[in-house]
Amino acid sequence: MPPFRTPVSSERPASRGSARAVDGRGERIDDLVRAHSQYVAGLAYRLLGRDADVDDVVQDVFVALLRFRSTIRDADAVRGWLSTTTVRLARKRLRRRALREFLGFDDLNGVDSPVRGATQEEHLALLRIHRALAGVPANARVVWLLRYMEQERMEEVARLAGCSLTTAKRRLETAQVAVKKALGHES
C-alpha cells in the first residue's frame, strides 16, 4: 500500500473564520467535497491513469466549483458540472504531461504504485490501457477513455469533451487506430 500523499497545500488555513466558508446557496464547501469527491477522484484517476495527480485535480475542481457555483442552475446539475470540469482539467494535465515527457521530465509509462482501494489487477489493467494510448493526443485520449472506459454515449462524450459530435467521432477514430496498433504490436 503506498504512503498516503500529503501535498503542501494540506496545511490548515491560517484564518479560522473561513472554516465556515459557504457557497452562494448556503451549502458548505465541506458538504460538497464529502458528497462528490469520491466520484471526482475516481473519474480523474481513470482518465489520468495514475494516482499522483488525483489530489491536485480534485482540489482544482472544487476551487472552480466554489468560484462558479452561482452559474450552476440547480443542485442536480452539480454532478454534471463536476464531470465536465474534471474532464477538462484532466485533459489539461495530460497535455502538460505529454510536454514534460517530450522534454524528458516525465515518463508516461512510469510505473505508479497501485492505490488503496484498487486491486493490483485493476491497477495493472488501467496501466496497460494507458500504455496502449501512449502517444495519442490528449483530446483523442480523453474521448476514447470516456467512450470505452466510462462507457458514455457519444453525445455525452462530445458534451464532456467540449466538442461537436463529429469532432468527438474523429478523435475517437484517431485513438482507436493507435490502440489497434499497440494491440498488434503486443500480439
Partner: protein
C-alpha cells in the same frame, strides 16, 4: 493483447478507483479554503521582493556602468594594431584602409557621434539613424552623415571624401557642400584656403585631437608676456587654446578662445573659437548657461544660416535645456526649424527643445 483481452482489461480498469476517505477529503477542504482566501503577502513574499529588487538594481547599475565605460573609452584604432575593422554597437562599420590610419572616437551621445580621422584613410558604412548626427572630423574638414557609405582619406591639411551610397555634407571653415552617391572631391577646395597654415596646424578646434599635433605649449608661453610690446596673434591664441585643451587645462583654453573672439572678431577663426569655447563650457566645465550664451555668440559671428551657425544653434538648444531654461530652448528649437527646415539635426533639436517633430 487481443481484442478480448482488451475488453477484459477494460472491465477490470473500470472498477479501479482510489479511496477518498475522510482524511483525504479534509485535505482537499483545507486546500480549497486556503486557495479561495484573498492573497496576503507573507514575510517570505517580502524577502523575495527584496531579492528581486536588489538583483534589478545591480543589473541596472551594471548596465549603466557599462554604458559609461563604452562612452568614455579611448577607442583609438590603427591598422598597425590588431583592429582593421571597427564594428560599432549601432551596426555602423569603419574599415581602416592604410597602415598609418589613426581614427578615434571623440564624443558619443544618443544624438551625436564624433570621430576624428587624424591620418590615413578609412571607409565608413554608417547605420541609418535619423535621430543621431554622425560626424567625422578630418583636419579642417567635417563630414556629416545620417546613414550612408563613404570613404575619407587624409591628404595632409585636406581630405578626400568619396560617397558610395547616400549623401553626406562636407563642411569646412568657410563653406559646406553636399556630396551624393558616386561623387568624390578634395576639401577644402583649392579656391577656399584651408585654415591651417604654415606654423599653426591647430585649425580644428572641433577636433581636440588635432591639438595633439601641436607642440604642447603652456598658455603662458604661447601668449606674450605683459611686458612684450606685441599682442598675440589669432593663430597663437588658437594654438594656445588647443594646447591647453590637449594638456587638460580647459579654463586656460576658454580664456585663450575668449581673447581670440574679443580681439579678433573679424578673424575667420573667431566663430569657431566661440563655438569651441561653448563646447568646453558645456561638456567639460559643466556650465550650460554660459555655454548657451557662447553658442549664441558663435552663431552671430558665423551667420545664422552657415553650417557652423546651424551647429551652434543646435548646441545652444542642448545647453539651454541642460541649464533648465526650457522656454528659451523651445524658442531656439523653433528658430532652428525655421532657419534649417531640412537640417540634419532637426529631430534631435526639436526633441531637446521639447517640441513635437511634426509642425
Amino acid at each position: 493483447m487481443s481484442r478480448e483481452q482488451l475488453e477484459e482489461q477494460l472491465k477490470l480498469a473500470r472498477r479501479a478507483a482510489p479511496p477518498f476517505g475522510l482524511a483525504r477529503q479534509q485535505t482537499v477542504i483545507w486546500a480549497v479554503r486556503r486557495r479561495s482566501q484573498p492573497w496576503r503577502p507573507t514575510a517570505r513574499d517580502f524577502r523575495l521582493a527584496a531579492v528581486v529588487l536588489v538583483c534589478f538594481g545591480l543589473a541596472l547599475s551594471g548596465g549603466y556602468a557599462w554604458l559609461r565605460s563604452a562612452k568614455t573609452e579611448a577607442s583609438i584604432a590603427t591598422r598597425n594594431g590588431a583592429d582593421e575593422r571597427w564594428q560599432l554597437r549601432d551596426g555602423s562599420r569603419i574599415v581602416l584602409e592604410s597602415a598609418s590610419t589613426v581614427i578615434s572616437k571623440r564624443h558619443e551621445s544618443p544624438s551625436d557621434v564624433l570621430f576624428e580621422l587624424s591620418a590615413g584613410s578609412a571607409h565608413f558604412d554608417v547605420a541609418h539613424r535619423p535621430e543621431r548626427a554622425f560626424r567625422i572630423q578630418a583636419g579642417p574638414v567635417r563630414v556629416e552623415v545620417i546613414g550612408t557609405e563613404f570613404r575619407i582619406e587624409r591628404l595632409e591639411e585636406r581630405a578626400r571624401v568619396s560617397v558610395l551610397r547616400g549623401r553626406v555634407r562636407v563642411s569646412w571653415l568657410e563653406g559646406s557642400r553636399v556630396l551624393s552617391a558616386g561623387e568624390s572631391d578634395v576639401f577644402p577646395p583649392q579656391s577656399a584656403p584651408a585654415v591651417a597654415t604654415e606654423s599653426a596646424p591647430a585649425s580644428s578646434a572641433l577636433a581636440p585631437s588635432t591639438a595633439a599635433a601641436v607642440p604642447s605649449t603652456p598658455l603662458s608661453s604661447a601668449l606674450p608676456s605683459a611686458t612684450a610690446p606685441t599682442r598675440p596673434t589669432a593663430e597663437a591664441l588658437f594654438a594656445a587654446a588647443d594646447s591647453a585643451r590637449s594638456s587638460g587645462r580647459p579654463l586656460d583654453a576658454v580664456s585663450a578662445l575668449q581673447q581670440l573672439s574679443e580681439r579678433f572678431p573679424r578673424d575667420p577663426r573667431a566663430p569657431l573659437a566661440a563655438f569651441t569655447r561653448g563646447r568646453i563650457l558645456l561638456e567639460t566645465l559643466g556650465r550650460p548657461a554660459d555655454a548657451a550664451r557662447t553658442f549664441a555668440e558663435a552663431r552671430a559671428l558665423a551667420g545664422a544660416r552657415s553650417a557652423l551657425g546651424e551647429d551652434a544653434l543646435a548646441r545652444e538648444v542642448d545647453a539651454l535645456r541642460a541649464a533648465g531654461n526650457l522656454t528659451r530652448a523651445a524658442e531656439r528649437a523653433e528658430l532652428y526649424r525655421k532657419l534649417h527646415p531640412n537640417g540634419l539635426r532637426l529631430r534631435s533639436v526639436l526633441r531637446a527643445g521639447g517640441i513635437s517633430p511634426d509642425p
